[in-house]
Symmetry: C2
Subunit: 298 residues, 2 copies
Amino acid sequence: MKLADCGEDRILAKLTRGIQHGAGVRAGIGDDCAVIGGKWDRMWRLLKTDAVVEGIHFLPGSPPAWVGWKAMARPISDVASMGGLPEYALVTVAISPQAEMDYLQGIYSGIKRAARRFAVELVGGEMSRSPGPTFLSISLTGVVERARCATRSGGRPGDLLYVTGRLGGSGKGKHLRFIPRIEEGRWLTGNFAIRAMMDLSDGLGSDLPRLAKASGTGFEILQDNLPCTNGCSASDAISDGEDYELLLAISPKDGPRLEPAWKKRFPRLKLTRIGHLTASSKKQSGLSRGHDHFSQPG
Amino acid sequence: MKLADCGEDRILAKLTRGIQHGAGVRAGIGDDCAVIGGKWDRMWRLLKTDAVVEGIHFLPGSPPAWVGWKAMARPISDVASMGGLPEYALVTVAISPQAEMDYLQGIYSGIKRAARRFAVELVGGEMSRSPGPTFLSISLTGVVERARCATRSGGRPGDLLYVTGRLGGSGKGKHLRFIPRIEEGRWLTGNFAIRAMMDLSDGLGSDLPRLAKASGTGFEILQDNLPCTNGCSASDAISDGEDYELLLAISPKDGPRLEPAWKKRFPRLKLTRIGHLTASSKKQSGLSRGHDHFSQPG
């Protein structure tokens, strides 16, 4: 059977079958970051790796500095979704020997800019020839206070669902230029009991079902409430992917306090209630499908 | 200027110019692993990332289980070269949607086998489509006692140089099937003051000059002493690369104790004295060049 006929989540389930996590692994395969730490440690460690591939995540003509920015910003966004702070990064590049040194330097300038902006220290990496497209992989470590760590699996029926920013239309440029929501993730987890959180990389239509599945709940979305990017439909907001906004679940009694506090702290970034989690894990209403890395024509 | 005209070490020097390491970074860009830890921490953390690319590090016809083994064994070998123990791994795969599920499962079976063998826990990863060759990137964390941590930079003039195993001819199969020298690295650093150590991934001809440069020394090699794989010449042993053996420098007064103790502990694996470090960093005798990822025709 070809991978294109399987779908990403099923492929991963097959490949990782039989893998068991030890006691120190607080969250493992299937969450935005792996979380490592002892039960009583004040700080937990986050591990994340992420790749961008030429022809898939960027094009040969994409500005190299933005390609580098994106490569570094993607795993930072995953750290944000756990409520954490990034620390150290390793960079792997596989690139054709025929590529121009200027092009590679452009990519690195973007990587370094994103690293500076989010206080990430570049401590190593690897370089290889590629006989095909350019491949950039960045692995990142981070830290989060045990008490703040937000995973996908803590949501409960009745929890309110919120998203930051606007969804859809990322292909017009935002997929390269987005700002990881580190500050927002820190503020949210520092001031509220965030039950579950993740970043929207494959689109609400793919990602929300993952959060609900991890939490053992269903969900109900009010499509009319979706904060669509200007010029985008609700269907774009659900399916385009690469929003890199935060999706979070919070107790209904915290909702009334969250909205005004957010407005005061982040007046220029929307926070929108888009629905809630439900008791029945079979209930998934208001959503069409998002992006799947393998099932799409490729 | 094209990358092929630059050479790997010069490319890396250009890209990483201006990057400064904070106080917690004990070894960073340019060593086998990044080393993170406080001055008085008993344990230091190791971070490593490594990639294998179809058409470069393995062929479309290479047995997938051995491809997976190699992808995991390479960063484990780097942890071995610091005297450390590996802990957690993240796996990134970029692969064509037209690839067979069986092929990818074969790769994962090799990854998991190497992980089990060296007590590495798989805690996450990432999957992407590739429009070209298959890319596998594995990032690995490890730990090492501060007192044991071996870097490339501690060698001194007069130190004896040793290598484990036999060099050369890895293209006949060893490049896929090698055994990372974790046990040997632990024993060496636990029983001797290892001044400098690294693993031989690009061949002695490329790697020894890197160790000498990091240590601020030169070197002198006795070519007749090189432990060549059966059927290989000294020149193969110097240039073939992908030996994944340990190269180490040790004080001359420890040499007499090391050799018999090694023979007793590892009777089936050679340990060979191949030369020594010299005071003048200009002295580099006995070596032709090893592998460079970009200057070779490719």
